[in-house]
Symmetry: C2
Subunit: 328 residues, 2 copies
């Protein structure tokens, strides 16, 4: 049975939503959950019938969201440090954390090491499009990139799309400010030339293509990816905020909104990041799923399923193998 270390206390809302997520996941699919945190606080939250699946790893501290990621290696008593350490010692198959994402990344990179040939790991995230989902990477791990980094993100994204998203020939694109090969900044123009070597590369795509179902994977540097991710969250929030404000102005509007509650719900479900669980950290020697700090039980449950799928695949071996094919 797969063992997953869960940083039980690192999220913005403390241990409760995380443990609820673990319970929800266990009710669907059995696995070994190693809860990393203060067992005195955690134990009372676990129902008797699930106790058999749970173990505890004591960790007395939480790495605060205000700390610098670079300090994560210093404090060996934090939940995230101990969780990654369990993976390093091969006592678990995967880690799920809703804690400080920079800390998770630094610890994973430095303690687990990078895959053979990988210069920089990347955080990949799934974004909803009108047909299915688009994998966007990097979304935060690397703010300044070289063309070789973007090329490697492309290889990693492609393997993830094939193995986890089950797309045999994913349409792989490079984010630019125009579809033409001549468009872009210095980094993307150079990256474009490297990515041409990848058979599934379909060329440049624009920001809007994340959502129109025309591509499966979009490659960019972590600064751009993170900015886009947050801007898109912002648009969606603003649209629903403005609409709600208008609807609240009249009884008739409220009645209308009630009648289309179900379409709204479906839309919300389709566009809800909590449905996707978390963002896999690709390129490190292990399986680390980085969850949103504001994860609720559903998000944690889905992150755990993501970790299980990742662990049961051979993504990391395949990334190394794929990378060997290219002389970049």
């Amino acid at each position: 049975m797969i063992s997953i270390a869960i940083d039980a206390m690192g999220g913005d809302f403390g241990e409760k939503p995380i443990i609820k997520g673990v319970i929800k996941a266990l009710e669907t699919k059995p696995f070994h959950a190693i809860l990393v945190g203060n067992s005195k606080i955690l134990k009372p939250l676990i129902p008797k019938k699930l106790e058999q699946y749970i173990q505890y790893e004591e960790a007395s501290e939480i790495f605060s969201m205000n700390e610098h990621a670079t300090d994560a290696l210093k404090n060996k008593e934090t939940t995230i440090y101990k969780a990654i350490n369990l993976l390093k010692e091969k006592k678990v198959d995967a880690v799920v954390s809703a804690g400080h994402s920079g800390a998770s990344m630094s610890l994973a990179t430095l303690k687990l090491g990078r895959l053979k040939g990988i210069l920089r790991p990347a955080i990949a995230t799934l974004m909803p499009n009108i047909v299915n989902k688009t994998l966007l990477l990097d979304v935060g791990a690397n703010t300044d990139c070289k063309a070789e980094n973007l090329f490697q993100f492309a290889i990693m994204g492609e393997v993830y799309a094939k193995e986890i998203m089950q797309i045999p020939n994913p349409r792989l694109a490079l984010l630019s400010n125009g579809e033409e090969e001549s468009k872009g900044n210095d980094l993307t123009k150079e990256s474009h030339q490297l990515m041409k070597k990848i058979p599934n590369f379909i060329g440049n795509a624009e920001g809007r293509d994340i959502f129109n179902g025309q591509i499966d994977i979009l490659i960019c540097d972590g600064f751009v990816g993170n900015s886009i991710l947050k801007a898109c969250e912002g648009v969606a929030t603003a649209i629903f905020h403005l609409l709600k404000d208008e609807i609240n102005r009249s009884f008739i509007f409220k009645l209308g909104a009630l009648l289309i509650k179900s379409p709204f719900k479906k839309l919300k479900k389709h566009t809800d990041w909590k449905e996707y669980g978390g963002a896999p950290l690709l390129g490190v020697n292990g399986c680390v799923i980085i969850s949103h700090g504001k994860s609720d039980a559903k998000a944690i449950k889905n992150a755990i399923f993501q970790a299980i799928n990742f662990s049961q695949s051979h993504i990391n071996e395949l990334i190394e193998k794929e990378l060997e094919k290219y002389n970049v």
Copy 2:
């Protein structure tokens, strides 16, 4: 009376929506419209009562969307070349074009010249937020920037916000992947230090802050700005597409949607780029408003009003004056 040269044929949909926009604008506010294009085609579109406001500048060619911006200077017979030339010769106060934006920018920069001290002009665009609007720049003119460029975009954006948006102390922010000063890529970290000299600078902001009403101006390089702009358009389009699909599944849903037609309409109006008209090109010696290639009559009308407001202000003098204050 203010004279505006209008590239009457450069948009994606030909002369009709552009002329309709000119007519709509003239019906609201009198100005001199110099229509640049084939007068034989344009004249029949103008109602008799408005003829007194219209002049024609013959131009036999259209700079195609597929051509390279750098070729714009070569063909002197295009509508955009002739329009910019009228401004250079001071025969008009402003230019509005829905043609090739790169060509407009190249021609404006090279023929009109840059304002004193400005290294690179920038395209600024207004984006709706939940309270009002956020000015985002650059959104496409400069794909590779230095910190000095971003600093100058900040100065130009600030003057625009004060003069045109009528915000006495605009909240000026720098786009980054985190609010902390330490967050960002090499470019933004260096830019942050320069921008600290500007009293209205409130620090870093994230993509989501474009929409939450917390900032008035957001500064970024043209690659990032363009990517964000297009991604945000993509999200909004996807949301309404998915919702429409769901609503069309049942009569009850359609009825509900009908009841909240008015809130949807208000939302659409608030978030519709056509309401904002166009994007001013800041930093060139003149007033050039770049409209969306897909502009309809409303967009052109609003772009014309934007050109009138810009021409009646002293933005360009103020930018030069403001820039002199800083030793960057």
